[in-house]
């Protein structure tokens, strides 16, 4: 056996291979990650630490590996956003309301991870009830960006992104209602995938917006995310992506008003990614989708109404049990009229049709994941020449369209701006994760070059 420490920040596929080849034991790995979590406690990545339960699971995995048993994730420590029910492990949703809830069953996605042999490695911090993108959690600690702890990791799956980037786990599970996987992946510098709506079951994930919620993985490489997707979905898009050719694919580089308010250094990286793809034989052309201008309004009305339906009882009977920002959002949602919700769904249909038409002309869309790099913790406004924009509105502006449409969307790190990571977003047609991952893998390769 070799020391596990150098492996802690390795790609998940390499960790899984090392475990299968018995070059490292699950227990060594779990202990190495636990030491790192302790050293990085200032980042507030975890709500519930892996603890002795993870060590017990590691011992069981070790026995199975010694018997030569197979399992795509056998002995691999995977951190889980604390929005997913975990059998016999406290599940808080980042809230005070559920601070003592210990579920009797696993969420479906957690069950699939366990069935593949993964060690459920702690529960990660999130924006309270996943209802926000700052991850400034009033009950469990303000999560901090590993690149610069004065800055936000983004959210709501911020703890999962921190754990991946800081080498505190091999991979992580997140959820995404308006960008909550892709935003922290972009701001922290890892890969995050929001698959097609419904590709990974939502059962056992505490809902936020029923028609917008998605489950997906965060990891250090596109290959890692592909492996996790295959385990979580039961399909083989990750495996197919490894063999897929990208040559000649048509890439639509998004232009128009929705990407006018983007930090110049973020734009520069996206343009650089597009140029690099062109050099590798992909056909890049600029496209506009005017209907995307209505994304923020459509998402806001839809989510406010749906989240307040989820929380309809508690927001009336226990409003003080919520943090101030989430309380205000939920109270606002109770005031959304049925006619307004219907209006938003009609606009959503227009957006879906417009993007659907674009996929008759291009194979993937390319755009920034977020218009800005990680904001300073507590910043509420982004100042543009054209006027101010709320930070949370800016962060979801380029991710939410694909929650509204349910299309698969991947954030891949591509360079930095002022020392902070930049994420580029690749979006594909319905259920075409393989194509999205194949292009993402190429972008990853080009970023390393």
């Amino acid at each position: 056996m070799t020391s596990a420490e150098p492996l802690t920040a390795a790609p998940l596929v390499e960790i899984a291979r090392s475990l299968r080849q018995r070059r490292v034991s699950p227990l060594e790995l779990v202990d190495a990650y636990s030491r790192r979590i302790e050293a990085a406690s200032n980042l507030h990545a975890f709500i519930t630490l892996p603890g002795e339960r993870a060590r017990q699971a590691a011992r069981r995995a070790e026995t199975r590996l010694a018997r030569g048993e197979a399992g795509a994730l056998l002995g691999v420590p995977i951190a889980v956003k604390d929005l997913f029910a975990t059998r016999a492990i406290r599940t808080t949703a980042g809230s005070r309301i559920l601070k003592d809830w210990v579920p009797s069953r696993d969420a479906a996605a957690v069950g699939r991870l366990r069935a593949a042999g993964a060690i459920i490695f702690g529960k990660t911090n999130l924006h309270e009830f996943a209802y926000g993108v700052s991850n400034a959690n009033p009950w469990w600690g303000v999560a901090r960006n590993p690149h610069d702890p004065t800055r936000s990791p983004g959210g709501s799956s911020g703890g999962s992104a921190i754990a991946v980037v800081a080498g505190l786990c091999a991979g992580a599970l997140g959820s995404d209602t308006g960008g909550s996987i892709r935003i922290p992946a972009a701001l922290c510098g890892c890969v995050g995938l929001k698959p097609t709506f419904g590709a990974i079951p939502l059962e056992g994930a505490i809902p936020l917006g029923w028609s917008l919620d998605h489950v997906g993985p965060l990891a250090r490489t596109v290959g890692d995310v592909g492996l996790l997707l295959d385990v979580l979905s039961g399909l083989d898009a990750g495996r197919r992506a490894r063999r897929a050719s990208t040559h000649g694919l048509r890439v639509g580089l998004l232009k128009g008003p929705i990407v006018q308010k983007v930090q110049p250094r973020v734009s520069h990286q996206v343009e650089a990614a597009a140029a690099a793809l062109r050099r590798r034989g992909l056909k890049v052309r600029e496209i506009t989708i005017p209907e995307m201008e209505w994304t923020v309004a459509t998402q806001l009305v839809t989510l406010r109404a749906e989240a307040s339906a989820v929380h309809r009882r508690w927001i009336r009977t226990r409003p003080r049990a919520y943090g101030a920002d989430v309380r205000t959002r939920l109270q606002l949602g109770t005031l959304v009229g049925g006619a307004d919700y219907v209006l938003a769904q009609r606009m959503r249909g227009r957006l879906r049709a417009a993007i659907g038409r674009i996929f008759e002309e291009v194979d993937v869309l390319l755009l920034p994941t977020t218009p800005i790099t990680a904001p300073v913790v507590g910043d509420r406004t982004v100042r543009w020449r054209a006027g101010d924009e709320p930070v949370d509105g800016a962060l979801v502006r380029l991710t939410a369209p694909f929650n509204l449409t349910g299309l698969p969307a991947l954030s891949v790190p591509f360079g930095q701006a002022d020392g902070l990571p930049v994420g580029v977003q690749v979006v594909g047609p319905w259920m075409n994760e393989a194509r999205v991952l194949a292009v993402g893998r190429l972008i990853e390769e080009l970023a390393e070059a």
């Binding site: 209505w294 923020v296 309004a297 459509t298 806001l300 009305v301 406010r304 927001i315 009336r316 409003p319 101030a324 309380r327 205000t328 959002r329 109270q331 606002l332 109770t334 005031l335 959304v336 307004d340 209006l343 938003a344 009609r346 606009m347 227009r350």
Partner: protein
């Protein structure tokens, strides 16, 4: 009859079963105004033909 935006919001919230303190109303008012503005934009964006199948 409520006359100010603040009074209107407080009345709407009461009707929805919310029990808001004066501070809650103050906290909610900017978000409520933004919400109303966005809905108005959505309404304006819908062309007449978008409404043809409604009536």
């Amino acid at each position: 009859m409520p006359v100010t935006e603040r009074e209107q919001l407080a009345a709407t919230a009461r009707a929805a079963g919310l029990h808001l303190t004066p501070k809650d109303v103050s906290d909610l008012l900017p978000a409520w105004k933004r919400y109303l503005g966005l809905v108005e934009q959505l309404r304006a964006a819908m062309t007449p033909e978008d409404w043809d199948d409604v009536g």
